[in-house]
């Protein structure tokens, strides 16, 4: 172990930790990322868990990764390629399916099969959501100004936002009406929101999926509409709301970041779990590893979620009680499961015909918003959903590197799965039973699915927590609800990537603007650190 002292050490090598590290290294600082596993990536990883197959075994699609970060860190040079994909579909029990296409006219006709009015309403829905995306986009890059503070920086930040909101050219001069709309959108349930546009159950169910993925909210829960926006505000090459695959799996993103970091002189200290952040006189100055080694740095940045950081690696005695209590109360509830499946062949669907581009995108199983709410009720009762919302995709259709020729990899995201089961907690048998239940659901929509499964990795929130370190297995490092967003994320008064401990910062998805493989928390944290060091933050991101 080299006894070097770093300018900055980042605890945790997820995509945000790596992003922060890259920006700091590019600014000329001596930087290290300390990672528990032998590989970096956090929840953006590609893992060969069955010989010949690559699994994006946590996050599985890419849209939110800010293009400015892609560009700043030269991720293309380090091998990253994002492949856009076409369409999505929702399969119904009665053999019908709703398909969504990127072709505007085809999409209109697809919806019109269920309702002409909905096909037309989709245009208005698309426009309204797009407007919300435009409103939120500059916020992603901002350190949230604290509305209770009178510091010039906060006042300037608020002014800047107000100015942007009213700007004639960017957003076209938003008025009262748009402010009303925005507040409603951020606080409504997705069910109520969609109800204002659509009449067809399947159209509503298809669109509502984005509002519950990863979230311990049901479609009837206030605040769920915002989660839909969170999934829509990404882009692939300027197409807002589009999703793509990262070639080689999601791990290609963090691999490229790691390569960019090394090229800028940064160190990655892998296989080194941090057990404690060293604090003296309310200042952090280093970390202790599991093997007892110590690494010292002027500044420390935690990529861990806020609970893991302050309940596990920072000692309670170092923290103000109110802060500690706020951390304890931070909502970070596990609600999702994941299956990664190696397939011998392509699944044949009972409803979606072969060759239909909608079948190459994300495929959902759900009947209605009511069924989704029922699935949420199961979660509240401490059991996995009997009729879960299933979001499947087969990246190997578009990405030739994921599976051997003629074979396929399927990622299956499952909503809802509780972190704690009511009937006595998770066991190995229950985990397998859960996997069987989900595969049974999928199998009932396919002619051949049950016969082509070669291997399946079954993950409950427990596995996600154990492997990636996300508390309770919450994929966003904390719920995306208004009480935990913007200047309240993660803790009111500590939304600017700083903590009560001097020289200790946060850069994970627990911070603004939240989860998803976006990189924005990491970049924002880097900017704050560089400002504190009176150094230039060079970026296309400003």
């Amino acid at each position: 172990m080299p006894k070097t002292k770093y300018d900055v050490a980042i605890v945790g090598g997820g995509h945000n930790g790596l992003t922060t590290a890259c920006y700091l290294a590019k600014a000329g600082l001596k930087v290290a990322v300390i990672e528990r596993h032998s590989y970096v990536g956090g929840a953006a990883v590609s893992r060969e868990l069955h010989p010949g197959w690559t699994y994006s075994n946590c996050s599985y699609v890419c849209s939110l990764l800010r293009p400015e970060i892609f560009r700043d860190l030269e991720l293309s040079k380090y091998g990253l390629q994002i492949i856009p994909y076409e369409g999505s579909a929702t399969m119904l029990d009665d053999g019908r399916f709703y398909a969504h296409y990127s072709d505007h006219d085809l999409n209109y006709r697809s919806i019109a099969q269920f309702s002409k009015k909905d096909a037309e309403a989709y245009e208005r829905f698309g426009k309204d959501v797009m407007r919300q995306c435009k409103i939120i986009k500059p916020l992603l890059k901002m350190t949230p100004p604290d509305p209770t503070s009178f510091r010039p920086k906060d006042i300037m930040g608020l002014l800047e936002f107000a100015k942007y909101f009213a700007a004639k050219d960017e957003l076209g001069g938003l008025g009262e009406k748009e402010i009303y709309d925005t507040i409603r959108f951020w606080t409504m349930s997705v069910r109520d929101y969609l109800e204002e546009y659509f009449e067809s159950d399947i159209v509503k169910a298809h669109l509502a999926g984005s509002a519950i993925i990863g979230t311990a909210l049901g479609p009837y829960s206030p605040g769920s509409a915002y989660v839909l926006l969170h999934h829509y505000m990404g882009e692939v090459d300027g197409t807002v709301g589009a999703w793509g695959y990262s070639r080689g799996g999601m791990g290609s993103i963090t691999k490229a970041m790691a390569a960019s970091l090394k090229a800028n002189g940064g160190d990655i200290i892998a296989g080194s779990p941090v057990t404690k952040i060293l604090i003296k006189n309310n200042r952090s100055h280093g970390v202790v590893l599991e093997n007892g080694d110590e690494i010292f740095a002027d500044k420390l940045v935690s990529n861990l979620d806020v609970k893991r950081t302050f309940l596990k690696v920072v000692e309670k005695k170092e923290l103000p009680d109110d802060f500690y209590n706020a951390v304890k109360n931070f909502k970070i509830r596990g609600s999702s499961g994941k299956l990664n499946i190696a397939l011998d062949d392509l699944p044949i669907w009972k409803s979606i015909p072969e060759g239909d581009p909608a079948g190459t995108g994300d495929l959902h199983i759900t009947q209605s918003i009511e069924e989704m709410e029922g699935a949420y009720d199961d979660w509240k009762d401490g059991r996995w959903s009997q009729f879960p919302y299933v979001d499947m995709c087969i990246p190997s259709i578009n990405d030739p590197t994921m599976a051997p020729q003629g074979k396929h990899y399927m990622s299956v995201f499952v909503q809802y799965v509780p972190y704690n089961l009511a009937d006595g907690g998770w066991t190995e048998e229950k985990r397998l039973e859960f996997g069987k239940h989900v595969m049974g659901r999928i199998g009932s929509y396919s002619e051949n699915f049950n016969d082509i499964i070669k291997h399946a990795e079954i993950r409950t929130p427990k596995e996600l927590e154990k492997e990636v370190g996300l508390t309770e297995g919450n994929i966003f490092q904390g719920e995306l609800t208004m009480d935990q967003l913007m200047f309240n994320r993660p803790i009111p008064g500590y939304a600017q990537y700083k903590t009560p401990i001097k020289n200790l910062y946060m850069c994970g998805s627990s911070t603004h603007p939240g989860g998803g493989v976006m990189g924005a928390p990491g970049a924002n944290a880097a900017r704050e650190i560089l400002i504190d060091l009176k150094k230039q933050f060079n970026s296309h991101y400003i």
Partner: protein
């Protein structure tokens, strides 16, 4: 129409497709409301000239068509649109616009009155939801009949003559903005003396199964009177000459604009004459009353531009080089031998005769020639020949 849903066919084909496909030598298609419509059949200039010299045939089937049926049909349309339609007669057509509650224009179109219990609205954008919402409380049914009616625009100085030669009885006495049922080559059709060309012309509405017969009949006398199918490029030329504006080209439809300040009210579009503030309550009236009192800050005007280089997409300036607006449509007019355009100007340049300047970037063999062209503000209706209005029409 053989148009059942298939992901391999994102675009629908109209009932005329068999013919338009044969005639479209360039295989150059335009998307119009999910249909495949020829952009250029073989030569835009000739297609344009046919509409100004003989006759041109345009497939306008993609036009949206909404049947309004019920005892409140007229009352409903009167609430929907800015114009007073209560006096509409059977067989009459009115040009209409409708606004949202803010008084910004959603779309324009025409309303046909079959009888007081049955009207039909034709328009460019989809309006089923807007109409259905407005219809609540009226004894009226709104039905989208777009796919059940095939339509051709037959435009040009010889159109009446040709219809007459086809034994369409008494067609010459059909007045502008009227329609009737006729027999055309054995098919029962509806013909209106309307169109987008600003010239003598008709629109022919028929059943899908009669479409090919109707199409063929219009070309019967081609040896003597050269009728050409005309594409969307040629249509764009005649509509600008005629001074007709289009949603999402010259203004953003109020229900579709992403940016709130991109919407326009009727006064800004020069459509104040279509707004009757003395009639009963209609959608947008309250705000239009206020807007009428305010000084306009921008207006869409006609521009007569120096030189011969079309000012497509040009920014407009005042004489001090201050930006005052933008050109929404521009072209060299073969009929007028003029460089014409529609553009937005600010409040100091709305009057006819005002001078503004267009910055035109004209591509010339990999270099742009930057032209600073003086423009006179003129009426948007550049072309309006007497034969357009004459009754009986010229045979």
């Amino acid at each position: 129409m053989g148009n059942s849903f298939s992901f391999t066919k994102p675009l629908l084909e109209t009932p005329f497709h068999e013919r338009t496909y044969e005639a479209c030598y360039n295989n150059d298609w335009y998307r119009w409301a999910g249909y495949k419509i020829a952009r250029e059949y073989s030569n835009t200039e000739l297609e344009y000239t046919a509409m100004r010299n003989t006759a041109g045939v345009l497939d306008i089937t993609p036009m949206h068509k909404y049947d309004i049926k019920g005892t409140d049909a007229i009352k409903f349309v009167d609430k929907l649109v800015t114009r007073n339609v209560t006096e509409i007669n059977s067989g009459q057509v009115m040009y209409i616009i409708w606004c949202n509650e803010d008084g910004n224009v959603i779309d324009d179109g025409t309303v046909f009155c079959f009888n007081s219990n049955h009207l039909r609205i034709f328009c460019a954008e989809r309006n089923l939801n807007w109409f259905s919402d407005t219809a609540i409380g009226f004894n009226v049914e709104v039905e989208d009949v777009s796919d059940t009616i095939a339509a051709l625009a037959f435009q040009g100085p010889l159109t009446c003559k040709i219809l007459n030669l086809l034994n369409v009885k008494d067609i010459e006495n059909l007045k502008p903005f009227y329609f009737d049922k006729f027999d055309l080559n054995g098919c029962k059709v509806t013909i209106s003396r309307t169109g987008f060309s600003g010239d003598l012309g008709y629109e022919i509405w028929c059943k899908n199964e009669d479409a090919i017969n109707v199409w063929d009949s219009l070309f019967t006398f081609n040896r003597d009177y050269k009728v050409l199918p005309a594409g969307m490029n040629a249509l764009e030329m005649v509509r600008v000459e005629a001074g007709f504006i289009q949603p999402n080209a010259d203004f953003m439809s109020a229900e579709q604009a992403l940016r709130p300040n991109r919407v326009r009210n009727p006064y800004e579009l020069g459509m104040g004459w279509l707004v009757d503030l003395n009639k009963n309550y209609f959608t947008g009236k309250k705000n239009l009353v206020n807007l009428k009192k305010k000084t306009l800050t921008k207006k869409l005007v006609g521009l007569d531009i120096q030189g011969d280089k079309p000012a497509i997409g040009s920014v407009l300036y005042d004489k001090n080089k201050k930006e005052i607006g933008i050109v929404t449509a521009g072209m060299w007019s073969p009929s007028l031998k003029s460089n014409i355009a529609f553009g937005y100007v600010d409040k100091d340049h709305m009057k006819i005769g005002s001078k503004v300047f267009a910055e035109i970037y004209h591509p010339e063999e990999l270099e742009y020639k930057k032209i600073w062209a003086e423009c006179s503000v003129v009426k948007k209706q550049f072309f309006n020949p007497p034969r357009r209005h004459k009754v009986p029409a010229e045979i």
